[in-house]
């Protein structure tokens, strides 16, 4: 099958069909998969609409990509795909201090957004040390956890409104950006695309989010931003034991104090900082003051948090293995280059949601599975991220090993975690099928939902619930 008519369908985008230029998106660089039929660099929503209509007419499937390579999950697996590369859509349409919101196209990276936000006194909610070149919108669309649980009111945060091209080729806007009026007309009445709900009786953004492009292609999104702290400190608490850290996390969550709040194990701490000799676990808690009485805010919150910590008989450390709070804060919140986990060929992740009090059970699962699989436990890094104000915890295990071995282990870990009640809310990697195992009605419901918005199955139709479920 050729790609006749594709160039005409995307008026401002460019179409690439040279094999060597397409290897980043599929088979190539030692990765399994297939080569796409073409890569289309879309520059406008009209390009995406044109591509979608063309794909429907020509029986092609579309894989959307918006970050810079190397691509990890957004990789073509089967024949017949055209890649919709949105990484050139780089406009930061608005950075709005008054409303603490930004509106950016899907190709904007964390480093690019942060520069724009800093100028107006804001900062983006970041995941843990994202790789440079990572699209902000893609990260939020994937529900990648961010570091400040207090600021997350819904697991969908910080994503707000979106512009989406459905598989039907229709352009749609979600939340209050849907109208009445254009964005400019909405801004004129003080609106800022801050309410993600609706329009009316459906939340299409929730259907698109987490779908890995299988429900539609997002071209821009508005997102919650945080005020840029005037004072910002990181409290660090090393511990050989996870249990007291968990009790402290609950204490902080129930007080609604703190900014960043996460637990990392020694392996991840070392990988992030490049410094060996890290403690078994460390709780990192940011404390910040903003535009009003910043020192006073930091002061009372620090006193409160230190009180919670001391009730566990522990004390805050000024540094961990020689790494001070300022540097650690910089490391966890800034884009990472080179990426601290290494290339996709050098690691694989398994992650799921649970509650913080169940985290020790899953640490045991990791320990036992490594033993059973005769895998060096020291090559697994753990990251526990409280989300949703501390109600939910993202549990992430990263296996640092050549990809094939890493994949074998993540599968084993995922199977073992599933048996203990792990919830794979963001299925990925070679364990994504576990999320849908023994759930025929759920799978059918997702498929019926997809059919509404993507009647011809154009949008990335070989992932998640679309795959054959065992």
């Amino acid at each position: 099958m050729g790609v006749e008519g594709l160039s005409e369908a995307v008026s401002s985008g460019s179409v690439v069909t040279q094999k060597e230029l397409m290897e980043d998106y599929g088979a190539g660089n030692g990765r399994k998969g297939a080569l796409p039929a073409a890569v289309v660099f879309c520059e406008t929503a009209d390009d995406v609409v044109g591509l979608t209509k063309w794909a429907r007419e020509n029986g092609r499937k579309i894989l959307p990509v918006s970050s810079a390579p190397p691509h990890e999950s957004a990789v073509v697996q089967k024949e017949g795909y055209v890649v919709c590369d949105l990484s050139r859509m780089k406009r930061i349409v608005r950075a709005d201090r008054r409303n603490r919101v930004a509106l950016a196209e899907v190709g904007v990276t964390f480093e690019e957004l942060d520069g724009a936000l800093e100028r107006v006194g804001l900062r983006a909610m970041t995941p843990l040390a994202p790789r440079t070149g990572k699209s902000v919108v893609a990260s939020y669309l994937d529900r990648t956890p961010t570091l400040v649980p207090r600021a997350q009111w819904d697991l969908s945060d910080p994503l707000l409104c979106t512009e989406v091209i459905m598989g039907s080729g229709k352009l749609f806007r979600t939340g209050c950006s849907s109208g009445p009026g254009t964005l400019e007309e909405q801004w004129a009445t003080g609106q800022a695309q801050k309410n993600p709900m609706g329009p009316s009786a459906f939340d299409f953004f929730r259907i698109v989010q987490g779908s890995r492009g299988s429900m539609g292609i997002v071209t821009w999104a508005s997102m919650k931003c945080e005020l840029r702290p005037r004072v910002h400190e990181l409290l660090m608490l090393p511990s050989d034991d996870l249990a007291p850290l968990i009790r402290i996390v609950y204490g902080i969550a129930h007080a609604r104090w703190g900014e960043e709040c996460l637990i990392l194990d020694s392996n991840n701490l070392t990988r992030l900082t490049g410094v060996p000799g890290m403690p078994a676990f460390a709780l990192l808690v940011g404390v910040a003051g903003f535009d009003y009485r910043p020192e006073q805010r930091v002061s009372y919150q620090k006193r409160g948090i230190e009180g919670i910590i001391s009730s566990e008989g522990a004390r805050v450390s000024r540094s961990i293995a020689g790494v001070g709070g300022r540097r650690m804060l910089q490391v966890i919140t800034s884009p990472s280059d080179p990426y601290w986990k290494g290339s996709p060929a050098e690691h694989a992740d398994v992650y799921f949601l649970t509650t913080m009090n169940r985290a020790p059970d899953f640490v045991s699962v990791i320990d036992e599975t490594c033993k059973k699989e005769k895998f060096d436990r020291a090559q697994v890094g753990l990251y526990l991220q409280p989300q949703l104000g501390g109600r939910v915890t993202h549990f992430e295990a990263t296996v640092f090993a050549p990809r094939e071995e890493a994949d074998r282990m993540t599968r084993a870990l995922a199977e073992a975690a599933a048996a203990k009640g792990a919830y794979f809310s963001r299925p990925a990697g070679n364990w994504d099928d576990l999320a849908y195992r023994d759930k025929p009605l759920l799978v059918e419901t997702f498929r019926r939902t997809k059919k509404i918005f993507d009647p011809d199955g154009v949008m990335n139709p070989d992932v998640l619930f679309c795959k054959e479920v065992v």
Partner: protein, 613 residues
Amino acid sequence: MTTEVVETVDLPEAVYEELKGIVGQDNISREPAVLDTYAFQYIAELLTGHSYLGRPCAVVMPASTEEVQAIVRLCNRESIPYKAVSTGWGAYGGSPAPGILQLDLRRMNRILDIDTDNMIAVVEPYVVGATLQAEAFKLGLNCHIVGAGSNTSILASATSVMGQGTTGVSTGFSNRNLLGFEWVMPDGELLRVGCFEDSDEWFTGDGPGPSLRGIIRGFAGAFGGLGVFTKCAVKLYPWFGPSRIELTGVTPEYDVEMPKNHIAYLIAFPGWEEMKEFGNRVGEAEIAFSMCHNAPAPMIAAMMESNMAFYDLWKGGLAEHFKYSLEVVIAAQSEDELAFQEGVLRDIIRRTKGREIISSKNDLRYYVDLTLGLGRIVRQAGPMATLRTIPPLAQFMIKSLMAGKRPSMFAKTLYISLVKQHLNARGIFRFGGSFWTSMGALTSWDCCIENAKEGEQIKRKWIDEGVLMDDGAENAWGGLYESGCYGHLEELGVYDQSDPICVDHGIDFVVDTVEATINKHLAMSLNATGDPFHAWYSPHVMNYHDHVASIKEEFDRANLSDASVYINRSIVESLMKMIEDGGGNFNFREIMDLANDEFVQTGPGTETEELAG
């Protein structure tokens, strides 16, 4: 106004017996007098022209998910339209069409779990805000309660209706508080959405992959038009107060022991712009437990022991004194934190030219402000009005003082009304009998204020026409959500439901406000539910009705889950054509009547394929 009841539709005897077998004979009824209690609903007159919706064919009261599922399956087998209601609040719980089977979920009233550490509650449909809050307080937690009052269903707000409430700045919005849920789908299949099947817990309803929360609701829900929700988990929030708030007195004259580190304020501003500024700053400073606006009329009404007492104070223009005002509650968990919150609040009040009218902490300020305020009242209300105010005000103050009530008591009354969410409903029904609401988009606080300004102008016209009661025109209610990420201010119109002029034209006020939100780009109002409003809004809002209708059609192919407040494609699209053909000149009352007639004739029970064809 008439009190006629529309036609009776009988349920086949065999079906009735089968339903009796499911729920037991004590939990089913087809007595007309019983059925009419479900049809007699608040604002029914604005939808049907009289006080009744359609009479259901029967009412059943299931006690479990299994019973709900069996009923819905039976309805599908026998093509019987059905609608579930939990606590209900107005015409949304019933149907204008006669003959639906009403599922009354009042027996499903258990709090199934409160996970203290993880701040999550799992509830059945008839658990009301007051109950959950009382239990949560004992554990140092609180829940979000909607403005309709603490006697409304937590589950209905989270899964099916809306979700605005006065503590939203710290407790969010019902849609956003929903975690995992259990759903008897329109065809009777049972789906547990979220993590339950894997973890035996309910901590999220998102995924795996996309979130099905997106199909069951948006800023509004399906109002019973998409099956029945039988369990759900919601977020709880930290509560920095006692396990029980001690109250004395009877409504409205409550006295309350203010919890340590809690303070309630009423803060007034020179105008809307200062209110805008204040709201934005309080939101971003994250210091408020509650920040909301109640207009003077319902606030005074809610505080007074009689309508006469309200009127005496109201007629003199006292309300002008705090027309532009916000109620703020701060609730800290330590003295340090309280000092910070108080300090920041003072900073913001100063920068935004605010005036602390009353607070639960400071009596003296009240007298000082009132004295200083007299000059303002004279300027705004005029000397005659002021003179009229002084005797009832003096009488009120003397009476209050003799009864041992200090001004801070009113702040305390305000406090408990906001915490327990009972000010709005008490205030708004008090002096008119009924009300309808409009505007109220969930949007930036700046645009919320623009909504309130516009709403006030529109209302003035309908007050002058004698359709709405004179509540000062400005009667916006709402506040901030999620630390001020967005807010809402809805414009309340108070009317006498026994007055035919009010009933006939009450909708006109809503029509004008909807038109303003479209023409002036003030964001989509909370009226955007039900077919007539979909028909009007959808062409201006990405033709969203097409997608909502597709969801309804896909998951309720037999069209049996009553969609009178949700969506019916054929009705919406025929109304859209009428509006388009009218070139913008159309009578919305006619459109609403047509929609109701059409719904009654072809809505529930008519297969969607047939309609589409």
